[in-house]
Symmetry: none
Subunit: 433 residues, 2 copies
Amino acid sequence: MNVTIINIGDELLIGQVVNTNASTMSRLLTAAGMDVCKTLVVGDVYKDIWVAVDEALRDSDAVLVTGGLGPTKDDITKKLLCEYFDSELVENQMALDNVRRIFESRGYELTPVNRAQALVPKCCEVLNNDLGTAPCMWFQSKLEVRSRKSETVPQFRPPTSNLQPVLVSLPGVPFEMEWLMRNRVIPKLQETFKTDIIITKNILTQGIGESFLSDLIEPWELSLPENIKLAYLPVAGLTKLRLTAHLPKDFPLSTFHFPLEGLYDLAGQYIVGEDCETLDELVHKTLTERGLTLATAESCTGGNIARLLTAQAGASAYFKGGIIAYSNEVKESALGVKHSTLEAHGAVSEETVREMVEGVRQRMGTDLAIATTGIAGPDGGTPEKPVGTVWIAVADATHTEAKLLQFGANRRQQNIDRSTNQAYAMLMRLVVK
Amino acid sequence: MNVTIINIGDELLIGQVVNTNASTMSRLLTAAGMDVCKTLVVGDVYKDIWVAVDEALRDSDAVLVTGGLGPTKDDITKKLLCEYFDSELVENQMALDNVRRIFESRGYELTPVNRAQALVPKCCEVLNNDLGTAPCMWFQSKLEVRSRKSETVPQFRPPTSNLQPVLVSLPGVPFEMEWLMRNRVIPKLQETFKTDIIITKNILTQGIGESFLSDLIEPWELSLPENIKLAYLPVAGLTKLRLTAHLPKDFPLSTFHFPLEGLYDLAGQYIVGEDCETLDELVHKTLTERGLTLATAESCTGGNIARLLTAQAGASAYFKGGIIAYSNEVKESALGVKHSTLEAHGAVSEETVREMVEGVRQRMGTDLAIATTGIAGPDGGTPEKPVGTVWIAVADATHTEAKLLQFGANRRQQNIDRSTNQAYAMLMRLVVK
């Protein structure tokens, strides 16, 4: 079934807020076997919302709308939908009970403005919003014409069901929206429409560019069955491969597997891991599972390696600490890099990065360590060590691996992001070897 | 002028990637005085992209498209635009030189697949992409019909210019897209559509909520002239005020200034700085200008304070280093926090944060230091110290300031971001006092 998402809000159109609602909704719908065909953002403008809703209902099985349900003047969605569906606002008992319950639990009086939140178009079904006062509204459209039926204007993919399209209006508050999607909207959509099963799998590759990888694995890609699609998602020195399989509703899932043997035969040396979105997630998962501890010594990455790991809940189980050794004095005092090493080879050198990684591992008493030192740019390059020159090292109790990378004169942030991913990939290869 | 943004990519529609491109583009376009009327995401599906482009060109002055320009099979934008504009693919010399330059700088051979990136529709103008191999393409549409001219189907807001609409195709890689927007696309749109002069000014406030600030400065806001608009942009514990002035193309700029006196009279105590987008940028600028050095000791922020500063070119002028003291052992060994302090008061306490900030300042020999320790969540809270409890300290040679913050049980990343901004604001107040 085809779903269109419409997120309403001026704050999205001026770029003040990143539209995480669209990605959360898309992720949940995809996992439930529905096809999100397009997502649209429009402002708090009556005409634009009307047109967006009207067009989406013509080429979708379901249209999910967020935003514009608050009690203030710029929230116009409910009034608009009432007019669009040619209905009238009536007080809904369940919605009123819900608003009253929430106000009582917060110790507030129910004002007339808030009581008005229980007014909904008579033609809709209210899905109870346990976490907030704005009602979630389910409309079965009376729309008979399911496409523009134009000979000249091309059309989006048509709806896949013969049912009349559904429109659901949800609040834009992210945690209310997500709770409603999981507990009310998706179950009811699944019940109403018959949906495919969708399974996705990520494979993280590193050390090969997207186009080289594409050439390398072409024979395998061409051998994939019709119902499995492959996408390349390059990001900061990695290429993530994403496989998506569409299976019929009654497919016996235990018998399904992605045909990965051919991929491993051709490109196994570049595969760092599966089933994670990012390398920091893979490191987090692997070290947690294996009970290995980690310390970091970062120069050019400036704390980025540590902060991506510590952004994940539970990182304290394996991450003990890090030194951001930006100046040479700190490399000496906090990591024990020898003054003579820095004098003879410079801060960006194999000798220095090895002393950094071994120093931090020893001082923090961890199983593993990572170190980086390089020239992130845009300044600080020399003919021998141009911007983008980075040394990375990883170590365990018995091995230290160091690697020189030349990223070219890229953007500073790109050099930092690539160094970070290189370091994670080297660590994974050390751990999994 | 009306702009529509179309972001192409299956990864966006399955919710694997959050669509930050839309918000970055919206922010840059809004700051340049253009109205983003809608943004649309479609998948790597020929028909859907075609319809999205076709419809957008009918009701926009400019349509900006990202994605689908890579060298792999699922990248179909270029071929589609070539057919849409009834053109043919030809090798563009500037694009080829650019691809060659980038491959040479990375030490790679130019393969046929990569050379194909220099193929562009004959009818477009190439805007050079200094940071990547995918070309940015500017199309002046031949479209005569500027709206659907339908009596029955309602329409979005119409274009505001009489010029033929423009379509620009950009790569979806965020840093390439952003560089192209700033350096190529927006200047050319301004030149083509002869837009107003737009001047913006940011004022960063901290320590007061948006609605309280709004009440406080209302008299000043009401006194602003018609051509100056005020927006409130709350982000992670800050409220950024953005003033936007629209001036006619020939306005003598040297005579213009924003009327800020009234704002400082009413809310001066909450203003941390001007003319920066973020507090890390303000800290970077201020410490660089004043020649003051900084060290950090981070527990709950996990390196985030350091990495935002070191992401900025030239940070080594003032940032000497940091300790990410995630475990108690590292707090003792690397920062000199006393074992007895941790025993008596715990890691999340005023006593500990003071020893952390003074320890790191002394050990790294800097003018200033920042320290954080807290419970980012979602686990680790106790009745006395619930999730969201954070101690932050800043120090110079003579003063140490410590502050307890209670963010409530928010999301982990939100607690990290708020702690980071609080730390920067406290540092700015210490430096500027």
